[in-house]
């Protein structure tokens, strides 16, 4: 049905639309007219045996040639083409699975088959951003029941890569909702691995936070291992801490998160499916989940945490996971550092049993490690924390961490920022509240996580009584410009720390 005298050829346009697949065509291209394409048309782009569905942007001027089809970065990578290769475009076929989303909006529960079709289409890139937004909205506000959540979790596992470890017990931990500085992973993994459990940990890089566990680990050792390298490290040391980006564990979830985050909607169903699908796909059998609760944390009340914990346990159990949930204090950052290297220094202090090591980070890590040791059968109920503490105090955990880093490609020392500035208290009193979200934002303005040594070093915690001029925190930056930039934001903030004056 191609009546055009001239074929289209691909062109990489280098526009980053953040995973949305966008194609660009000239309005005067023969295909635009003959196919009746308009701006925002959903089109199918075929290149050899591969094809993608993309949203069309019509280009009026001479950004691209009349016979070129431009692609956004995400579309370029999804199609896997080359500049200049011939390509065919047509209207995208109707998205059949979206009719179940419409049904859900009108109050009809999802069937398992419908969920599977939806997840398949999302993983294939067939859902536009607004279609995903409609799906997320339809699932928010407790509109997903347990059966739907189980089906969603199972379907998400089904469309991704899945790891197998040939062991009966494979443990993992996960923290729901970031708390700045909460880098327990880098302490929990060496403790439980030192006790003989298998813990092949895939961590994320920061997306909206100043550091992900993978970013922090990267200041100590390489993390970009592929699957064979990861398997070699785990076989040798019983664990690893690598970046999960090299393996595509739950691609549909990655697509949804991209739209979910800016909407800021809470859906226990989506959150549970997101967390558990990645654990199951990673081959885990026994999982401990940490839910920090606090006014400026992701989960804001104990009641909300309890509901989420119940759903996690119900769905996890249905899918064959042994699962335990820990509610933790989410009222302030953990440890002293915020930013990859600064957090790594905290981790090192704990692992090395240094005198000034941050006790909150140590306590949280041994709590989680203890639960994992009990869940994985290495400690009797109630004795996990003591075992974890012992492994940490004996230096066995530190020894294991060094071995892990060596196996991942060699241990290194985190950087130190060249430019620092101390922010002091403007008046005396007691610290009664800390704004996690704005502290995280400040660390990012200072350059974290891209500048790995950038971030904040905190000098006071909740309950500290401060004098005028006493240091509250130190800004760390790798360039004077970033320091100045963070500083101007810091000065504009009134109450990163809420200090109540004494009468």
């Amino acid at each position: 049905m191609n009546l055009n005298p001239d074929a289209l050829v691909l062109r990489r346009l280098g526009i980053d639309t953040y995973q949305e697949l966008v194609a660009y065509l000239r309005s005067d291209s023969p295909i635009c007219r003959s196919e009746g394409f308009e701006a925002q048309s959903r089109i199918q782009v075929c290149c050899g045996s591969r094809h993608i569905i993309a949203t069309l942007n019509v280009v009026h001027e001479s950004l691209i040639g009349r016979h070129q089809l431009g692609l956004s970065e995400a579309a370029w990578h999804a199609l896997g083409g080359e500049d200049g290769v011939p390509v065919k475009v047509k209207h995208a076929p109707p998205l059949q699975s979206f009719s179940a989303v419409r049904g859900k909006i009108y109050g009809r529960p999802f069937t398992s088959d419908a969920v599977e079709a939806i997840v398949h289409d999302i993983a294939g890139g067939h859902y536009s951003d607004i279609e995903m937004a409609a799906l997320i909205t339809a699932c928010s506000g407790n509109r997903m029941d347990v059966a739907e959540t189980i089906a969603l979790t199972r379907s998400m596992v089904g469309v991704g890569q899945r790891l197998y470890w040939e062991r009966d017990i494979v443990v993992d931990k996960h923290c729901v909702g970031g708390l700045p500085g909460n880098r327990t992973t880098l302490i929990v993994v060496p403790i439980v691995a030192a006790c003989g459990l298998t813990i092949p940990k895939t961590s994320s890089r920061a997306i909206t936070s100043p550091a992900g566990s993978a970013d922090t680990m990267e200041t100590l050792a390489p993390v970009g291992l592929d699957l064979p390298a990861m398997r070699r490290v785990v076989d040798q040391e019983g664990g690893c801490i690598v970046w999960g980006g090299a393996v595509s564990l739950s691609p549909a979830d990655d697509m949804l998160i991209r739209v979910e985050r800016p909407l800021g909607l809470d859906s226990d169903g989506l959150l549970v499916a997101s967390v558990l699908s990645k654990k199951i796909a990673a081959g885990s059998t026994h999982v401990v989940i940490d839910i920090p609760v606090g006014r400026t944390a992701k989960v804001r009340s104990p009641a909300a945490a309890a509901a989420l914990a119940g759903r996690l346990i119900e769905v996890g159990t249905a899918l064959g996971l042994a699962i335990d949930v820990v509610q933790s204090d989410g009222s302030q950052p953990v440890g002293r550092g915020i930013g990859p290297a600064l957090e790594a220094w905290d981790v090192l202090a704990v692992l090395r049993n240094e005198a000034g090591a941050p006790d909150d980070l140590r306590q949280r890590a041994v709590t989680l490690a203890g639960r994992l040791l009990e869940l994985g059968g290495k400690a009797l109920p109630g004795q996990g924390v003591a075992l974890a503490m012992e492994v940490l105090a004996s230096g066995a955990a530190w020894h294991k961490m060094q071995a892990l880093c060596a196996a991942q490609g060699g241990m290194r020392e985190p950087g130190r920022a060249a430019h620092t500035h101390v922010i002091t208290a403007q008046h005396a009193g007691k610290v009664v509240a800390v704004d996690n979200r704005r502290l995280a934002r400040l660390a990012k303005l200072a350059g974290a996580p891209k500048a790995s040594a950038a971030g904040l070093l905190l000098h006071v915690a909740l309950g500290t009584t401060v004098e005028v001029g006493q240091p509250l925190y130190t800004l760390h930056a790798e360039s004077p410009g970033e320091l100045a930039y963070a500083l101007s934001y810091a000065h504009a903030q009134e109450d990163l720390y809420t200090i109540e004056e004494h009468p």
Copy 2:
């Protein structure tokens, strides 16, 4: 807080994102790094005293200069800038009104104040597409009550331009959901204007259909009148039929429709607010609304039509409109032509009382005109249709239409397509169903509405008994390529007309 050595300057990129405001920055631009912008960040772009909120696309290659800020067409027009003028960008302020949308998703009804804030932000271009998709989803499936719909309608009127006509009675008509060929407007307006009512009709151009009333009218007279010209025509002739695009009657509704349409969600609340806000903004006091009901029409069942009619009357009455609703047959196209000029020929045949004029179009027009004459006090209850028929039969309506066209800039004759092809029945039998949607698509493939003479001329209707080889419809196109293109689609369709063979 601008610490960058170099300022940004505007650049029109000529990318049509269909009203979504998109800005393009190089990843290596100083501002991207210093502000921590990422792909899909929502940013505020300030140019002199004007500003817009846009979604950021990060550009990796040399599409634009390091110190340029590219804008999509919609962003360019919204900001009203010029190539090369200096511009400032920063993170968009948080969208406060979206918290009410989140509340709605969690089951809390909208307050009037919340609706007003949301509509204000939408009209200002502050909602991203995914935020609008979430709002639309939250309002779909009968989740908006009458009070919310009234608040939404009132707020939509509040943010747009509003017309005043200095008359007690200003009438209007509207058809919910397009039915191909249903061009009653061009007959109703001259009938009721000839009877002395005031009917300043603003019509739309086709968006997804092969012709809007404005497109059809444009084949007879100019329709792109500005407000003073429109006022002059109405003062002189009592009515007009112009394109509504020159006046911005309900800009928030225009933004929502753009996201609503591809999602295909039904929300009586949004539909009622959309229709009534535009009528009120246009200064109407007495309105008749036509709801075609049919399997391939927008409203598919009499029950759905009744619910919609009830909501229209309740909300319209609350906002001071005198309102009447007509359910009509939506099972097949109206008249013979589909496409601007072909529909205009149907209209002319009815107005001129030609022997072969399509009776279905005439009947629908006099039904609606009769209701308007009764509602506007020009006919006693039950006598409107007779009066409308009389005005049509006497030639008074045709005389008025000629006067309207002359006042709008001069009457002209619709074009005739140079290329036609007759599609005939493949087997004998009775026509038992017609697919409105695919006939509309076929007319568009033939070139309608841009090629005004293109489209379809239908030769059979529901219930017709056809022989093998009997003409079903004729394709009309302005170029051989478009004819061939439409023809290949036509040949691929099995059941545009469902013909049941006799035993």
